[in-house]
């Protein structure tokens, strides 16, 4: 018989995401890691605008609804003012990589000592499914109705890779929640990211590939399969940098 499993109290309440949405899994993983690391009562969440906003009533912890894209800056100040708290910004791909690209890269650049979790569902979910900077080539969205044309809109951005290659960050990884093994692996990434923060060595980021069945216009299971078959081909899973702890 396996270990008992109970939703951590941090997130043990009804969530208002759509059926089959990956946000619910991701935030639970964060809560599990915090609990296991004994940090569940030592946590501040700056939260982005997007379906992340639906966490407002979903988690019982210090949390601030940041202006769209600005969680990187807000988290910077929170961590600097409260260095002993664990600070985790929870954002979507639109929030962190489009409007917030300045704040997100600048926090990584400065190697701010907080953790960023970015839910990459390859579109702006909350506003009804527009193209984002992680929308796959040829993916149809409400602002790429004939499929994304990368020759004029750019290729999907790979932020953990960028942070790992260009900046002096502590930890960068990409996981996915499309099946149980990947959920477990993603949890291990999130845990390492928080541990990196606890060590004070540097900025940590985990991008989480996550389904948006509503805007992908797919059934939840189909959406999970879509991640396995397509999304991961553009967004390789794994760890891109892990600084040695001093």
């Amino acid at each position: 018989m396996s270990k008992s499993k109970k939703v951590p109290y941090l997130v043990d309440r009804p969530m208002s995401f759509c059926p089959g949405c990956g946000h619910g899994i991701a935030i639970r993983l964060v809560a599990e890691c915090l609990e296991e690391l004994g940090q569940a009562d030592n946590i501040v969440f700056p939260i982005g605008v997007g379906c992340s906003s639906l966490l407002g009533g979903g988690i019982e912890a210090d949390r601030l609804h940041c202006s769209h894209g600005r969680a990187g800056a807000v988290a910077t100040a929170i961590k600097r003012c409260n260095p002993n708290n664990v600070v985790i910004s929870y954002q979507g791909d639109g929030d962190a990589y489009s409007i917030g690209i300045g704040e997100t890269t600048s926090a990584a650049y400065r190697n701010e000592r907080f953790t960023t979790i970015i839910i990459n569902n390859t579109n702006y979910g909350m506003t009804g499914g527009q193209m984002s900077n992680t929308t796959l080539p040829n993916q149809k969205t409400n602002t790429s109705v004939y499929g994304r044309d990368c020759s004029v809109t750019g290729n999907p951005i790979r932020f953990p890779e960028l942070a790992a290659d260009q900046f002096n960050v502590g930890y960068a990884a990409r996981g996915s929640v499309h099946d149980v093994p990947n959920i477990r692996k993603t949890k291990s990434y999130i845990k390492k990211a928080i541990e990196m923060q606890l060590s004070g060595e540097g900025y940590s980021v985990v991008e989480v590939l996550s389904p948006c069945p509503t805007n992908w216009k797919m059934e939840p299971l189909e959406a999970m399969k879509h991640i396995a078959e397509h999304v991961t081909t553009y967004f390789p899973l794994g760890e891109f940098v892990e600084k040695e702890e001093k």
């Binding site: 208002s16 995401f17 759509c18 906003s53 639906l54 909350m126």
Partner: protein, 178 residues
């Protein structure tokens, strides 16, 4: 001027019923407005819209005091019951809605098993059109012909003509159920 509220789960086609009725009104040269509830409340899974139409200009397009309420599920009936104008009409999807919820005596409650009817006619997605037919009749503002023409005109313009016959039939079923 008539005010109708159409409410239900996201997938039940209530916004389309509203649009249908408003388009029929326009087709008859009435003034008409259609206004949805929008925003992240969508994620709760409920949807509703308000349609107003009539010969005069519509000063306030927003929800006010509906003459007619379509409630496709229980939460909708609970939510909008208190708003319906005294003497107004409430049409419920009796396949899903528990009419016991209704506590008002000053309204006219009409129960239509639209899911069953739709299944029977082999057009499971036509339940909302059936309801549109019923509401058309109840409103007293359109003939069956006017309603059908208005509806078909709309679906044609939207390039959705393929269900023309099924939809015509569904509308008639609803119209004649009353």
């Amino acid at each position: 001027m008539k005010e109708c509220v159409f409410a239900g789960f996201g997938g039940q086609g209530v916004l389309t019923v509203g649009l249908l009725i408003s388009q029929m009104a326009t087709y008859k040269d009435y003034h008409a407005t259609w206004i949805p509830q929008y925003g992240s409340a969508m994620r709760g899974g409920t949807a509703n819209c308000t349609v107003k139409f009539g010969e005069g200009y519509i000063y306030n397009p927003s929800q006010d005091e509906p003459d007619i309420l379509l409630a496709m599920n229980n939460p909708s009936l609970v939510k909008f019951l208190p708003l319906v104008k005294p003497g107004g009409t409430i049409v419920v999807n009796s396949d899903l809605v528990d009419s016991e919820i209704n506590t008002r005596k000053d309204i006219n409650l009409v129960e239509i098993p639209c899911l069953t009817l739709a299944k029977e006619m082999d057009h499971p997605r036509g339940a909302n059109v059936i309801m549109a037919g019923a509401i058309v009749k109840l409103s007293g503002d359109f003939t069956e012909r006017e309603a059908i023409d208005g509806m078909n005109d709309m679906f044609r313009k939207k390039g959705k003509e393929k269900y023309k016959e099924l939809n015509t039939k569904a509308l008639s079923i609803g119209y004649n159920y009353i």
